[in-house]
């Protein structure tokens, strides 16, 4: 075999082998979802929802706790109503917290934060971000959804302002 032949015999398999290692390695690195252990909690990578939308902050959601922290931080800590889809129970829960509510329908135009129900489970729509709706969905976390509610039904509008982009979080 000529020297050129030996060179090719040595180098082309090496190049192919290297590419065979590099491509999966790069793919893995680029698609490796980063789980971050932050100072105060763990952050999981975002993921798409099967029915549309994205979970942008995956985390456990305790709606009763979220309602207190977001709307009445000074209010009493209470457990969620035992029947998850009992609208009246949730209205009473919010009343004890000191948050006024108004009956509405799930798919009505969004003007206030809204507690609504889907598949028997409550979710809290906080506001809008561009064309998406920002919602807390138990079992997933903070989500961006393409519509305010997948199905219509009774809902409760909370007497509070809607969340918009970069709503300031601290006050002097």
């Amino acid at each position: 075999m000529s020297p050129s032949g030996w060179i090719q015999l040595a180098l082309w398999p090496l190049a192919i082998g290297y590419a065979g290692w590099l491509v999966p390695h790069a793919w893995h690195e680029l698609n490796d979802e980063v789980v971050v252990q932050g100072l105060f909690r763990k952050y999981w990578p975002p993921y798409p929802l099967p029915d549309g939308g994205h979970v942008i902050d995956p985390r456990p959601v305790d709606l009763a706790h979220e309602l207190r922290v977001r709307f009445r931080p000074a209010g009493p800590e209470r457990s969620a109503p035992s029947t998850a889809d009992d609208v009246e129970a949730w209205r009473g829960h919010l009343a004890v917290l000191g948050v006024a509510t108004r009956n509405t329908r799930a798919r009505a135009p969004l003007t206030h934060p809204r507690l609504l129900w889907h598949a028997g489970q409550p979710r809290l729509v906080l506001g809008t971000l561009d064309r998406d709706y920002v919602a807390l969905v138990p079992g997933h976390g903070v989500c961006l959804l393409p519509e305010v509610a997948p199905t219509d039904g009774p809902a409760l509008d909370l007497d509070a302002p809607l969340v918009t982009r970069w709503t300031p979080v601290f006050r002097p």
Binding site: P3, L11, L14, F40
Partner: protein
């Protein structure tokens, strides 16, 4: 060249060029010392190649394959990734064609110098113009302890001079292994020069400065997803603010005189209420804070570094001058690279991509900066090696300008670098925490800061001289050893 050097088929030449492309990529991303060998296979592949098209193709393949190794930028879009690979490919086409035109026409000393001179030209070209995207050999070896003495050249020539040394090493290896006796003799001279540069750098390392200052870098360690969530959800935004506020308050309880946030650490409207903004120094704290913020005012957005004195007094700010095309088009660029005067010294903030180019840090120090701060957010690169690549470029900036440099990454890497290129401590990727250390302020200016890219001027003139001599010899009709015995 050595008459025993075998004739190469086109297939063998392409195989050697592929090897050179891989070695260049490996050097940039995985293992810096590979740079010493990277273009040796290409020089062999080019030897005796008569066809211009073949020559251009060989060079282009090397650059393209090398560019593909910067795959971490895929997170910023396919166009940037493929565009970068094509860009580096075009540089190596120039390298190959110039080498073909000039090698073997004059004296073996010229042949030895050519790969280094041409590489210096192409590497310099990668730093200029609106589409400039630097890729440097000096960055490949910046974190190799055994080669650190070579970095001592950088205060005089800029990092480009050190890249020239790496390219000389490639030429020395090629001519030393494959050359005839005259070429091998000059390869020995080249090896001697490299050894002398190493010994000089070892014996006379750059000064470190004599005005100490305690510094602390605050790394939140958050992924980009957390900022997306903060955009939509106030409680997520509160988490981000609380992270930086908590770590900053820890820093204020240390002896640090300067606390530094990374790029756009907080995107809340902090400057409306600096006296009470979380994480800003209060009355009684001793440190100045250099805060990385995304600041919005009057319908504009700025990638801003703000110096805040205890009590919330704003001492000055710097807005990112060189923004990332497309991704940062919504930002209003800053007007100039000017340092900020503070009780902690004249601070030279450089934001993210600006640290990859030599001009920002040179301008900052030329305008009086006594300490460089690279504030970066590389979270978009995930766990790819790009952040290490960017950190190495920061090492080059520190050595070129003779300044201590604190690099603070939002998701890492955070490290303190001295003017000799030594790193003092590190926070890794996605690791929240504080990096504390002692830096030193310096007010002198290196030759490179004062004279700029004079090294490129010298190399360019040398290349022009070789080109002119070659042309004159060709016109006279006396061209000994034009393409060698190994025509394609």
């Amino acid at each position: 060249m050595d008459p025993r050097l075998p004739a190469l088929s086109p297939g063998a030449r392409w195989a050697l060029a592929a090897l050179a492309g891989v070695l260049n990529g490996v050097a940039f991303i995985f293992w810096g010392p590979a740079a010493l060998l990277a273009n040796v296979p290409l020089l062999w592949a080019l030897h005796g190649a008569r066809s211009r098209w073949l020559t251009a193709g060989l060079g282009g393949l090397v650059g393209f394959l090398g560019g593909l190794h910067i795959y971490g930028i895929l997170d910023y879009g396919q166009l940037l990734f493929w565009g970068f690979a094509g860009y580096t490919g075009s540089q190596m086409v120039l390298y190959a064609l110039l080498h073909r035109a000039l090698w073997g026409k004059l004296h073996p000393a010229a042949d030895l110098a050519l790969p280094a001179l041409i590489w210096t030209l192409t590497e310099w070209l990668r730093t200029v113009g609106p589409l400039a995207m630097p890729a440097s050999y000096v960055g490949c070896i910046a974190d190799v302890p055994g080669l650190r003495p070579w970095l001592a050249l950088a205060p005089h020539t800029g990092g480009l001079g050190v890249s020239t040394l790496v390219a000389i090493a490639q030429s020395v290896i090629f001519h030393g292994v494959f050359g005839d006796r005259p070429h091998r003799r000059w390869a020995a001279v080249g090896a001697g020069l490299l050894a002398a540069a190493w010994a000089t750098g070892f014996a006379f390392p750059p000064p470190l400065g004599d005005r100490p200052i305690q510094v602390a870098g605050v790394q939140g360690g958050l992924a980009n997803g957390q900022y997306t969530a903060a955009y939509a959800d106030p409680l997520a935004a509160a988490d981000v603010v609380r992270t930086y506020a908590t770590l900053s308050e820890q820093a204020y309880r240390t002896t640090a005189a300067l606390v530094v946030w990374p790029e756009t650490a907080v995107r809340e409207p902090m400057l409306d209420r600096p006296r009470t903004a979380p994480g800003f120094p209060r009355d009684g704290d001793r440190a100045v804070l250099l805060a990385g913020l995304l600041h919005r005012a009057d319908g504009q957005a700025f990638n801003r570094a703000v110096a805040v004195a205890p009590g919330g007094r704003i001492l000055g700010h710097y807005d990112k001058v060189r923004t990332v095309p497309k991704t940062e088009d919504y930002l209003t660029k800053g007007p100039a690279w000017r340092p900020i005067d503070t009780p902690a010294g004249r601070l030279g903030p450089i934001i993210c991509l600006e640290s990859v180019y030599p001009d920002a840090s040179r301008a900052m120090v030329g305008n009086g900066a006594e300490l460089l701060l690279v504030m970066s957010n590389d979270a978009g690169f995930g766990r790819s090696p790009i952040t290490r690549h960017m950190t190495n470029r920061a090492i080059v900036r520190a050595v070129e300008t003779g300044r201590w440099l604190l690099r603070v990454g939002q998701a890492g890497i955070t490290t303190l670098i001295d003017p000799r290129g030594v790193r003092h401590g590190q926070l890794g990727l996605f690791e929240p925490g504080l990096l504390e250390g002692e830096a030193r302020l310096r007010g002198d200016q290196t030759l490179w800061v004062r004279w700029g890219p004079w090294w490129m001027g010298l190399c360019g003139l040398s290349l022009l001289a070789i080109g002119a001599a070659t042309l004159r010899r060709r016109r006279r009709g006396a061209a000994p050893g034009a393409a060698g015995p190994n025509a394609a």
